[in-house]
Symmetry: C3
Subunit: 358 residues, 3 copies
């Protein structure tokens, strides 16, 4: 069901301190902690002996001790001590996961450890860049992660769902929409020329009246998004030349690391990043508030949609909901769904030793 | 499982204002809103596109716009606009329900729209009559609707469950009980002669000491009740002459519109109506309080009974609980169960094109 | 699934007063009340008529009257009155359970009433002895009862789980552990010689520095524990001579009556008993607080373990969790599991009329 051979975000760096941290990822219970040198460790969060969560225990040096009967595991998952006996029964261990920390994210590899490839981690340097401001959340969503991907690959919804902050009707009705696919990356660009600024742009941006505005949403498997929101004076340049990291005169970037928890719940690591010079210090509280309002509105929709699908009399599910009515703006998300289907199939085939489609 | 070819109460008229209203009826998610002229509209509460509840959207003129991607549906359920494209994909629509508003109730027809017959709506003129006072609730009950019907067709329970307000022992022990059936209407009349007044009657009625009292409970399919509670001085008339709309010297009427939500939950639209002259203005707060206490005691029993049936080791369920011990006072509710069984069977047969029993 | 032919604790004596008391035991809904002479009664908690819990009704003399339609049952479960008719339908009754009150516990026999044997009740005289102080709780645990038995037959966990009160490392690491079996009784004795006193012992006991300490945990089927915690000056006597009721210079006893509620929940009747002279009056609030902290830590572990087992990817369950990694300290609890398995098998065989293993 899940694409396992990928890095998934397990935590923001600053969520992981001196105490063990527990979360469920792709239906697996994972324990995170830091060694004395700060390196993160990821282990199965069930003691081999009685299945109590190791996260209820304590970190001892670079090792973790179960809080029930005191069994100690090293950072590779091997049981190195059983109180009251000379050594642990042979082979007593918990599963260990490859883990990497980069640019504010702690990533865990959920597939075969031998396939873990550090080079496949996406670079998000602006999440911890000194000249960029960031507001961020670790959200727990009661919805399948596919519904989040759908949401972010059709930003026409900004016109309706976020109409008191970053959206107004032109975002849906007057946008030129370009769908691109580069390998397994899907990019949807929405360009609006000479349109009135929605509230957030009018309050914080460079043009309170009409302007040109663009949104570039780039999805990379399994579930990463970088969304670039930019704007500038009308006529300043021709359409079609916008790029992911270019905000023009004023804008901000949105980052999403999306990690399935279960089939019906998701961890969403969400951040807004902006050049410090773009939002003066005194404006930041209100700018952050508007950004948080936007993501809370999205969360409410993800969860309402999931609840609706839970009891759909026509059998719609998170997996097939897109196979019904198709509209023009669905194109990007249908491509992502196609890529996910192909990658999932390949992963299943690889497990069985069959040739893969690629 | 449900009898669908009927009008069911979806809301009190004053529950439906300028915002969309959502509820589940007979396992279907229904959206209600009013057009500009006040006429109520009832549609399936799932956008055809992504299954998000349309009740999260907004009313635009006489139409409803989805709050996610802005699709617009007219009051007959047809999708008339998809933002960003010239027209909606052919056949995009949501289910529409016949709906009628009358005497404080908004009714929705849950069966085949072609069978919707306005003439079959029951008349409850006292729910909005200028000379009658009303206190009412829309209750959400965690119990199967059949348990409510059982409750109301054996009012001997008033003696025990409501013994600090409208009940005392004679209601169960000294009543003459008459069970009548008129077509598919079941009426149970309980007459008590020369009995002491229960608290509510003693405090608000015409006879603080002994009096004659009667309860007439009339059930009409699928799930409507009109209960007449009347009283007068002992010896004023002979038994057997009481009628549904006659309260004698003092009394009140109780109305129930009962709408299954799911197999295990129910909407109960409950009202007490009384002649304004029967309860002086200054007495109404306490009279209403006692009425509300009665219905809350009933709710507690419905839900306790349902929880007990949820885990019944002998396999009793809301559907078969009456097939066990039978007592004399069960007669009315057993007739109602028989009518429900026959009507359900006929409806199922009609769907298959078979001849119906009637 | 359950061993039914046993006495189980249904309540502390002082939980059962002048009102009906309801609880679920071994998946059966039980009603308790006292007759006028104080004798406890235990009946099935579902009225034969409509399955409403009889505990919602009222005690009338030595009988119980249903709060819905007023049916009256005597203390043997026979329906003796149906309002509105001369007599109850023949055979109308609810199940009745043998019940005995002794030493602060109200016991109910959950098996065949003919097998109920008062002599098999265990004697716990210190629970209501005038020279002993007691602090006690009726805990509702969201975990299978077997997890509680495991906990109490391996007290090495005291070293880790209770390390801010009664535990420190020597309890696990420096203890001599003796496993004994006497018929179907399992006793695990842990003796520590010349070890530092854990906090509770240092604060309330006779030796703030090093001392000898012992724990004797005795389990008797189906689910009773008497645990003796004792201590005295190092060198005062030889190991191997400790007995269940001997606390040496300072100590206390712990009692557990464990009653399965469902497969996933348990009633735990827990008590600490101590000689009044061992804990001066002014010290008791803090001594009780530390004892309560210990049991709350245990409850948190039972429930965390159950939740972990609920979703165990390797299929571990409360029933089989011990069949995985085995450590030296598991010996006592593995014996208890073996006895439970054999007794359950015998009980099942007896039901079918087969020869039993004993």
């Amino acid at each position: 069901m899940y694409m396992k051979n990928h890095w998934y975000v397990a935590a923001w760096s600053d969520e992981l301190g001196s105490e063990p941290l527990a979360l469920t990822m792709l239906d697996e219970d994972v324990l995170l902690y830091r060694k004395r040198d700060g390196t993160p460790v990821a282990l199965e969060n069930r003691c081999a002996h009685r299945r109590v969560p190791l996260s209820k225990g304590r970190i001892v040096g670079d090792e973790i001790q179960c809080g029930y009967h005191g069994l100690v595991y090293d950072s590779a998952g091997a049981c190195v001590k059983v109180p009251g006996q000379a050594r642990a029964p042979r082979g007593t261990r918990v599963k260990s996961y490859p883990v990497i920390e980069r640019h504010a994210f702690v990533y865990v590899w959920m597939g075969d450890p031998e396939d873990a490839d550090e080079a496949s981690i996406i670079d998000f340097p602006r999440l911890d860049h000194p000249e960029w401001g960031v507001t961020k959340l670790h959200l727990h969503i009661e919805a399948n992660y596919l519904l989040l991907i759908d949401n972010l690959l059709d930003l026409s919804h900004v016109a309706y769902l976020h109409d008191t902050t970053i959206g107004n009707a032109p975002v849906a009705e007057d946008a030129e929409v370009i769908h691109e696919r580069h390998g397994d990356t899907v990019r949807v660009t929405r360009e609006m020329v000479d349109v009135p600024a929605a509230r957030t742009y009018a309050e914080f941006g460079s043009h309170p009246g009409n302007f040109d505005r663009w949104q570039l949403a780039e999805w990379r498997p399994p579930a990463y998004f970088l969304i670039n929101n930019g704007s500038e004076g009308t006529g300043a340049r021709k359409p079609g030349r916008y790029r992911v990291f270019d905000q023009g005169e004023w804008g901000f970037q949105v980052y999403h690391g999306i990690t399935p928890e279960t089939r019906r719940s998701t961890h969403q690591f969400w951040a807004i990043a902006y050049e410090l010079s773009a939002v003066p210090k005194e404006s930041r509280p209100e700018f952050h508030r508007q950004c948080h309002q936007v993501i809370r509105e999205d969360v409410a929709i993800y969860e309402a949609q999931q609840r609706s699908l839970d009891s759909d009399p026509e059998g719609a599910t998170p997996e097939n909901v897109n196979e019904r009515v198709r509209i023009r703006f669905d194109e990007g998300l249908l491509q992502a769904r196609e890529i996910i289907a192909r990658m999932s199939k390949d992963e299943a085939a690889e497990k069985k030793g069959e040739p893969i489609s690629g």
